[in-house]
């Protein structure tokens, strides 16, 4: 077909169509690079049932939850969703709420949970007994309707372990736990799995031969520790315990010193710097070369109270050093004294990655021999506890929090860490910018909501222009 000269009208039409296509293209580019404006839609507040949020076994939550959130956020920028949470969401739901931020969808939430800011931790005691140290913190109601008198209940898979009045801080030692371990205040719950870590059960005993060293070694071995050491019986004779080796954290968890004697301070310092534990028991708190790492200074010896070994405070029946804790040291245990002040008997301090514990009691073997019928078990438990204060516990696989959030151990804190602080009840849907939208912005947003419309317009214009040219024989 021979091209014909277009009529003026046709020429104008073709130019118009080209212009429309170019303008459409420009508009698309403008919309693409234009920063997102505030959402002008009336705010909707999402609500889910408490059972859906808190039930970790709810399988329908995932899809329903996401669909509803995405739908509520709409397509306009910025995408924001308002929700009122009547219960602390389960871990998966919290994870998804946190992930919304990564998808540029911000969440405003109103705290209707009435949840207590609970945090629960369970640490395996560094002792062969398999016991677990449990701590509960922040156990106070945050909701307005939470009964302040409600009790704090510790449970595991086997049922209730203990129940105490609601308190800000509580701690237990559990001989055994059937995971998961849970703590509840009213409807608030925190839970942690418990796992027994693998750690070295070998200790180095540095002591002179005598009843104290004999019965401390016996207590530790009966509690499941392996004791290495050497007793000097005469200048040329010694009794060897276990297989003493070089002080190293790969081999020993703790070094226990019981007497004031000459020791290899450099090796012990090195051991502590590696992360090892040191227990200075009785007269060992007076070892001068270990003063730089000792957590306390021993002043004088406090006499034993006659007959106290047979009472419910048997420790008072033991002679003890009066300890003055160093700056930065923690007084883990004190005895009441007759002089209206408490006397520190267990002082602990971190020295680099290691821990040093000073125990004031001398001749603790009397507790076992001269105490009540439970004295032997109490003496064993005491030394196990003292060693556990100093020994490091390697983190188990479960302890390592992959995403660095508190998790189920502190579900409320986990929620806040992932989603942010809750907004006040009266400002849930307020736009971030606060200004009213212009008609132009509204139109643009409408256009952005329908990107296909712009594409269709450009395509139709270009198609019309192309068809017009072909019909008049032009290429």
């Amino acid at each position: 077909m021979t091209p014909t000269t277009p009529s003026r009208t046709r020429s104008v039409l073709e130019r118009l169509l080209r212009t429309v296509a170019l303008l459409g293209l420009a508009a698309a580019m403008f919309l693409a690079i234009r920063p997102a404006g505030p959402n002008g839609r009336p705010a909707t507040v999402l609500r889910w049932s408490a059972s859906e949020l808190a039930d970790s076994t709810a399988t329908t939550l995932t899809t329903a939850f996401v669909r509803e959130v995405v739908a509520a956020a709409g397509d306009t920028q910025p995408r924001r969703v308002n929700m009122e949470l009547t219960a602390v969401p389960n871990q998966r739901a919290r994870g998804m709420l946190g992930a919304l931020g990564g998808a540029h969808l911000s969440v405003n939430w109103i705290d209707g949970t009435q949840a207590a800011g609970l945090a629960l931790s369970a640490t395996a005691v560094a002792a062969p007994s398999g016991a677990v140290d449990v701590r509960v913190a922040g156990a106070h109601p945050v909701g307005p309707n939470e009964a302040s008198s409600s009790s704090l209940v510790l449970r595991d898979a086997g049922g209730t372990l203990d129940s105490i009045p609601n308190t800000r801080r509580a701690a237990w030692r559990l001989a055994s736990v059937s995971p998961p371990l849970r703590v509840l205040i009213g409807a608030s719950e925190a839970r942690v799995p418990t796992r027994a870590p693998a750690f070295t059960r070998r200790v180095m005993l540095v002591a002179e031969p005598g009843w104290e060293s004999k019965f401390v070694a016996a207590a530790l071995e009966e509690a499941g520790w392996h004791v290495d050491g050497s007793y000097r019986i005469s200048p040329r004779t010694a009794v060897t315990l276990g297989v003493p080796g070089r002080l190293d954290t790969a081999r020993y968890a703790v070094v226990v010193l019981l007497d004031s004697m000459s020791v290899d301070a450099a090796a012990i310092n090195r051991f502590v710097q590696q992360g090892g534990g040191v227990v200075l028991g009785g007269d060992a708190v007076r070892i001068t070369v270990l003063a730089p790492i000792s957590p306390a200074r021993a002043t004088t010896v406090r006499g034993a109270v006659a007959g106290a070994l047979l009472t419910n405070t048997p420790q008072r029946g033991l002679e003890a050093w009066e300890l003055v804790a160093n700056r930065g040291a923690s007084v883990v245990r004190s005895d009441d004294s007759d002089h209206a002040h408490v006397e520190p008997v267990l002082v602990a301090q971190r020295r680099g990655p290691g821990r040093v514990v000073a125990s004031a009691y001398r001749n603790s073997w009397r507790w076992r021999m001269e105490g009540t019928d439970d004295g032997a078990a109490e003496h064993r438990d005491w030394w196990s506890s003292v060693l556990a204060l100093a020994a490091g516990v390697p983190a188990t696989e479960g302890d390592a929090v992959a995403d660095a959030y508190p998790g189920n151990g502190a579900p409320y804190a986990d929620l806040v860490a992932r989603v942010g602080m809750p907004v006040p009840v009266d400002r849930p849907a307020a736009p971030a910018g606060g200004r009213a939208l212009s008609a132009f912005d509204q139109r643009l947003d409408r256009l952005r909501a329908a990107p296909g419309l712009l594409f269709m317009m450009i395509a139709v214009a270009l198609l019309g222009e192309w068809a017009s040219r072909r019909l008049r024989g032009n290429q």
């Binding site: 060293s213 019965f215 007497d259 007076r286 009397r366």
Partner: protein, 221 residues
Amino acid sequence: MSDAVRDSMRAEFSDQTALEPFVFATAQYESGDWDSAPMLPANVIDSVARYTSLPVRPQGVSVPLSSEAVFAYPLLFLTGHLPVRFTTREADVLRKYLVRGGLLFVDDHNHDVDGAFHKTVREEIRRVAGPLVPLPNTHELYCSFFVFENGPPTTSHEMNGWGDNLVHEQLDAVLRNGRIAVLYSSKDYSSEWSFHPDNKRFLSVDNTKFAVNLVVYALTR
């Protein structure tokens, strides 16, 4: 601070941190003659000081078996010639003593398996602590300081044919958690070791060395 004060403090602290010495204790029991070997404690103390650097108190003590004071002495020596009948209180205290980790060394001063002491005290031990069983001569008691390859050393009373006219090959014991709780000897160490320690200089071989093993075993095992 004056030198005098400093010296006195040093003396005080050195005293305060001094190791608690080992005290040899003899059990007093109501029946029989508990003090039939009066020189034995001194001889044992002498041997411990003579061969080891263990701190030891120069005098022994006698402790009523009916008193809870025995718990302060985790090694207890008991001997006699006469029948032994523990009172209920003595039996209770002894039972607790052994459960808590004490070691009772019983020696038949008669050296006579047909004697009243042997028969009655073994019966009492069985009642309180369970049956006595022979202690193998390879037990670590025999190498806890000196090495006695053939088990317990013989005594002159055995060799002279006194008492039951027997040389006892081994000692008997009640074991608890792998440790000796009661050690029973028919070898009459009570006679063998009951002489003034100063007379050791007349002996070509010290016959009290086994006592050192016993004390070291009790203190370290």
